[in-house]
Symmetry: C2
């Protein structure tokens, strides 16, 4: 682990918000976007938080993001709708489209919104968690630029396309499912590459679709879908990733499959466009339409307690409940501090110079961990 | 492959229908149930078709199934509802609850129905395919009796809990996703056991949660969730299986997790009950609420054609589209005949004796394949 620095979450989110405002984003939207990024850091998903600010800034700089989007319902019928994000920041379009889904759920029992003309929206579980505040079951998915090959394919055709769904407990914290439909996140391959280690078989294939354990194949090769091989269910991961791509991209009229535009500027853009931006899909179901809310929540508690008491296999402490790892990070970090590595500090300094938003990180840093040399 | 016999689908479905009627099921319901089972055989999913008739008969014989269920909406709010199947045959409750979901979608844009007090409902894709006839996107899930361990658990806590979703094409046949959330179906372990072969690592654990390649461990051990190990994403398969268990079982007030009652009589029943029967979850979304139906279908065609043209890895002919294998079986079998193995013929003869419904299989048999000795 390289050096890292600890900051109060507020320091980072204030900087984020000011950076967005410097591009003309209005106060309220900038706060919202900064809240989404911050939630990722607080929940311990460092890859999707402040570490991504530089990429958002690049997209603003080259005019790919509209700072004042008019987010609109382009078509709807009671519980369902298609929403156009007007090229807005995904961190703004996402929460607003999710709000539309939840408002529909209040009125029609459930709400389902497919979104086009949007961009990366942060962590999927930010949205499913929001529904819990309104006693709803929350769903969230997004398609992302292609890095995953379909089973038996020698080309990246799908993104890591995450699915999140959250169920509220009564006394217990909620069950929060949030999973990429690829076998592993690209970040894990990147870590192995930096450390000069090989990766397990079944994570990646090279540009000809041949199995590889060399993480440097990440630049031309593909991740495998969850399940990896036919024998281990790779067709199922491919199906799940397709499901997300279709609900988010094909249904809304966004780009899909290999045509989903990349997030980072240094990647080669797709050869053509088949729709508008990337796509999200949000769902909310009012629990009260199925049962008394507390009855359901108490059954969720029972489920959680039953699964927690599963006898663990030798060498493991306990069976986890979906959402446990992020919740543990959240308990820890919201009381304490967010760790930021040197490489991200460097990025943020660059952002500060580009946007002229002051970033007094040395003053704000609470502690330096690791080798200070 | 042992001997097998070929029959016209009609011969098998007429027998099935008469068998259900012999228990007091009304004509229309018996036809419906027989249609669901038959669809499974026609789509090449032999494990879920006529081969299961004996188990349904056993459940009727011991009074676990109500031949004349009053299927009712116990609570609803516009697009969502909880349905009680009144202990009816899953093959009858399923189609009727799915109909409720689709009717809700016609009225409210989408319909979502969680079902308790039901039983095994056949193949998940029977239901999602139905929605296509009404220009809807169809969803179907069911929980099943526990045979899958959660990641790091040394006990079967979840079923193979399938998820199906279907999207219609314009000129192309539909995309039909139908997957068990376990790494593999139990049937594949059973086949290895009969053939005296070992199974791949990552499919199963023994009763202490230790990796095993011995298929005979199926009686006391557990299948692993899709992804198998932590490193290969086993926590994701566990999450997906949990998602199905909660939407079907916990939400509706059915049994869930290790308490889902078994289908076959020879299995040990769960130690207690935490709800009514097993649970299903059906969803339907009206495409017209998102976009012009044909616009969406044409984009699905584009998606299909794009994915079909993915360069395949060496040694594979082509990337498949979800639903291809079942569709190929369907094209073949609906023109021709359904193969039935000797063991199933024996079961059906037993069913015939129990129910006194004639089963003139020797006369109806079109051809015997394999060794006739």
């Amino acid at each position: 682990m390289p050096n890292y620095y600890l900051f109060k979450p507020e320091f980072l989110s204030e900087f984020t918000s000011k950076v967005f405002k410097s591009f003309g984003v209005v106060e309220e939207d900038a706060q919202l976007a900064s809240d989404v990024l911050s939630k990722s850091d607080i929940r311990g998903i460092d890859s999707h938080g402040i570490a991504r600010l530089k990429s958002y800034v690049e997209m603003f700089s080259i005019g790919r993001l509209n700072p004042t989007p008019k987010i609109s319902i382009v078509r709807d019928k009671k519980s369902v709708a298609t929403v156009d994000g007007d090229s807005g920041l995904g961190l703004i379009v996402g929460p607003k489209a999710n709000e539309i889904a939840m408002d529909k759920a209040s009125k029609h029992g459930s709400g389902w919104v497919s979104v086009c003309n949007t961009n990366h929206y942060g962590i999927a579980s930010y949205y499913s968690l929001k529904a819990l505040e309104r006693d709803m079951i929350g769903w969230s998915m997004t398609n992302t630029s292609s890095i995953v090959s379909p089973l038996w394919g020698a080309k990246s055709m799908l993104g890591t396309n995450p699915i999140s769904i959250a169920f509220p407990g009564y006394k217990n914290p909620p069950i929060v499912i949030d999973l990429a439909t690829s076998v592993v996140a690209l970040g894990k391959v990147e870590i192995a590459r930096r450390q000069g280690k090989s990766i397990p078989e079944g994570w990646m294939v090279d540009e000809k679709g041949r199995d590889t354990t060399n993480p440097s194949d990440m630049f031309k090769g593909s991740l495998l879908p969850l399940g990896s091989t036919r024998e281990m269910g790779g067709h199922k991961g491919y199906c799940l990733s397709s499901l997300v791509d279709i609900l988010c991209g094909v249904l809304s009229g966004a780009n899909w499959g290999p045509y989903v535009p990349q997030f980072a500027m240094y990647e080669t853009p797709p050869e053509k466009s088949v729709g508008k931006g990337i796509g999200h899909f949000f769902g909310a179901m009012e629990i009260d339409g199925f049962d008394e809310v507390n009855n359901f929540k108490k059954r969720i508690d029972q489920w959680i307690e039953e699964f927690r008491s599963t006898p663990p296999v030798e060498g493991q402490e306990a069976v986890l409940i979906p959402g446990d790892p992020e919740r543990e990070a959240e308990i820890d970090r919201s009381k304490n501090e967010i760790p930021v590595i040197q490489a991200v500090i460097d990025d943020l300094n660059l952002v500060a110079r580009t946007t002229k938003v002051p970033f007094d990180w040395e003053q704000a840093c609470l502690e330096v961990i690791g080798n200070k040399s």
